[in-house]
């Protein structure tokens, strides 16, 4: 009797599990269909307006035309995507690395923080659009000024977040490390850096989209390759479908970077942030 009960219970649980999976799938679909339907609706509406009101193509092309251009000019678009992607990534790496290193310096020296924090704030207040021409004048037409602009735009949010993260350690945890005779280096590597990871990733998510903006702004001024240059060229020549296709590609680049950062965050941060104090 008891054995039968147990088997029944086991069967119940597998059935229940299967049911749960089914429910989860249904739930994902329930979550996803409204935004999908909205996107499709907007595209249809857009096409209808452009066709219905006979809007000239150079003012606003319909989605059909944009897609056609994208397919037709794909090799040329790719040729311009790569420089922008490289500049964005290099700027992302440079800006965030420097920001983390300076944040580590700030946490270990109040003097350094007092001396350099105002400078960091000042740099952050200069509009990136205004710095770009200066950097192009100094560094010429190559990749360098674009990478620096992308790096600058990433720098500040990461500096602020990581400085906060490195300091947001339970004082008792620091006392524990002292009782264990841990060195500053060990405290940094085993306590401060890991506990600042959630703060770092919050900043990296911002940087993953702004670095693309930085690279494109850099390309607006004195460049003949890259999505930024393409945007300028398409605008001046009233090639609106090409302009739209370029903008969509730029946005896709940012989305890809954002997704990579998000996936990396999920891989690396398995713990709950609110448990950090306990």
């Amino acid at each position: 009797m008891a054995v039968v009960d147990q088997q029944e219970a086991a069967a119940d649980t597998t059935a229940a599990r299967r049911e749960k999976v089914k429910q989860r799938k249904a739930k994902t679909w329930r979550d996803r269909w409204p935004p999908l339907a909205a996107v499709v609706g907007i595209l249809v509406l857009w096409e209808l307006i452009v066709v219905g009101f006979e809007v000239p193509t150079f003012i606003a092309p319909g989605p059909g035309e944009v897609v056609a251009t994208m397919v037709e000019r794909w090799p040329m678009l790719m040729m311009n995507l790569w420089p922008t992607a490289l500049e964005s990534l290099a700027g992302f790496a440079l800006g965030n690395t420097i920001a983390v290193l300076i944040a580590v310096g700030f946490v270990h020296s109040r003097l350094a923080e007092r001396a350099f924090y105002p400078i960091a704030v000042f740099i952050n207040t200069i509009p990136i659009i205004a710095i770009a021409p200066i950097l192009v004048l100094i560094f010429g037409n190559g990749f360098t000024p674009k990478i620096i602009i992308a790096a600058l735009i990433c720098f500040f949010p990461t500096l602020v977040n990581v400085t906060r993260g490195l300091k947001a350690v339970n004082p008792a945890t620091l006392e524990l490390m002292h009782v264990l005779s841990a060195s500053r280096w060990e405290v940094l590597m085993r306590v401060r850096l890991p506990s600042s990871l959630p703060f770092l990733f919050a900043a990296l998510k911002i940087a993953s989209t702004t670095c693309v903006i930085g690279a494109i702004v850099g390309e607006w001024i004195g460049s003949n390759v890259g999505l930024g240059a393409l945007i300028i060229e398409a605008t001046y020549n009233f090639r609106s479908p090409l302009l739209y296709a370029t903008v969509i590609l730029a946005a896709s680049l940012a989305v890809v970077l954002f997704t990579i950062v998000t996936l990396l965050e999920r891989r690396l941060i398995r713990w709950k942030v609110d448990a950090a104090a306990v």
Binding site: V179, S195, K272, A276, V278
Partner: protein, 270 residues
């Protein structure tokens, strides 16, 4: 229950001192001038003794523990742990601390948290030899099978058990506990009190245990050190001559109630 790796040193005579404070004074430089947190504290704790500390909030209990752990400098007097300065005893891993927060690393598994003391400190002269196997400690604190769990998957009581296991890994001579069960509900606290007594008898380590709770102080300690506030000073040291092993039923016995009542009276004058 005899875990050989945890047995107390055979040569530990009854007159060995784990801790000796001589006229210890600790002052803080605050915005409102000098604050004397501890004044002229003298105290001897035998090796293997269980001493509980009781006193009104702000009377300097945490300060006293932190002074013994070499987390705070003394302004006067001397602290000697196992016959040497606290900083030396700390580097020799003879002092362990358990805080009210479990202070676990949220990104480390239970077993890696327990092993943390083996990973750090060598650069600063820490001497780490012949640690207790982490698996043995897991069994001792009743967490066998949870070694791969992350702290956020555990209850508050389980996290505190991990903290205790971590504190024991290097055979500390003296275990300092600052209201370790203060954040737990009463049932968990009772359970952990019983287990702590068992662990104390298995390991033979000296324990200094700060608490707010009179029943906890009487139930655990061989002696209760009562501190008075402003400035922090020794008010009275009360012997609790109740035999071990003690179980929870003891707390309903007249001899227990009588001692608790005495402590309450003294506490009112602190």
């Amino acid at each position: 229950m005899g875990a050989p790796a945890l047995a107390p040193a055979a040569n530990a005579g009854a007159d060995d001192l784990a801790l000796r404070l001589d006229g210890v004074t600790v002052t803080f430089d605050t915005d409102h001038g000098l604050l004397t947190a501890l004044q002229d504290i003298s105290l001897s704790v035998r090796s293997g003794e269980f001493l509980t500390m009781l006193g009104p909030s702000g009377c300097g209990k945490s300060t006293l523990l932190r002074t013994v752990a070499d987390l705070l400098p003394v302004s006067g007097g001397t602290v000697s742990v196992i016959g040497r300065p606290a900083s030396e005893a700390r580097r020799a891993r003879q002092i362990s601390f358990v805080f009210q927060d479990a202070t676990l690393m949220p990104w480390l598994s239970v077993i890696d948290n327990i092993r943390l003391p083996l990973e750090v400190g060598r650069g600063n002269g820490a001497i780490i030899e012949a640690p207790v196997p982490a698996e043995e400690l897991l069994a001792m604190v009743g967490l066998k099978g949870r070694e791969r769990a992350l702290p956020h998957e555990l209850s508050g009581g389980m996290r505190q058990r991990v903290a205790i296991a971590r504190a024991l890994i290097c055979h500390p001579k003296i275990l300092l506990m600052d209201e370790p069960f203060g954040a737990l509900d009463e049932i968990k606290r009772d359970q952990l009190n019983v287990e702590l007594l068992r662990i104390w008898q298995e390991t033979g380590t000296t324990i200094l245990f700060v608490t707010h709770s009179i029943p906890e102080a009487v139930f655990l300690g061989q002696r209760v050190l009562m501190l008075a506030a402003n400035p922090g000073r020794v008010r009275e040291v009360v012997d609790i001559d109740l035999p071990y092993p003690r179980d929870l039923a003891l707390r309903d016995q007249p001899e227990f109630i009588e001692r608790a009542a005495h402590l309450r009276q003294v506490l009112e004058t602190c």
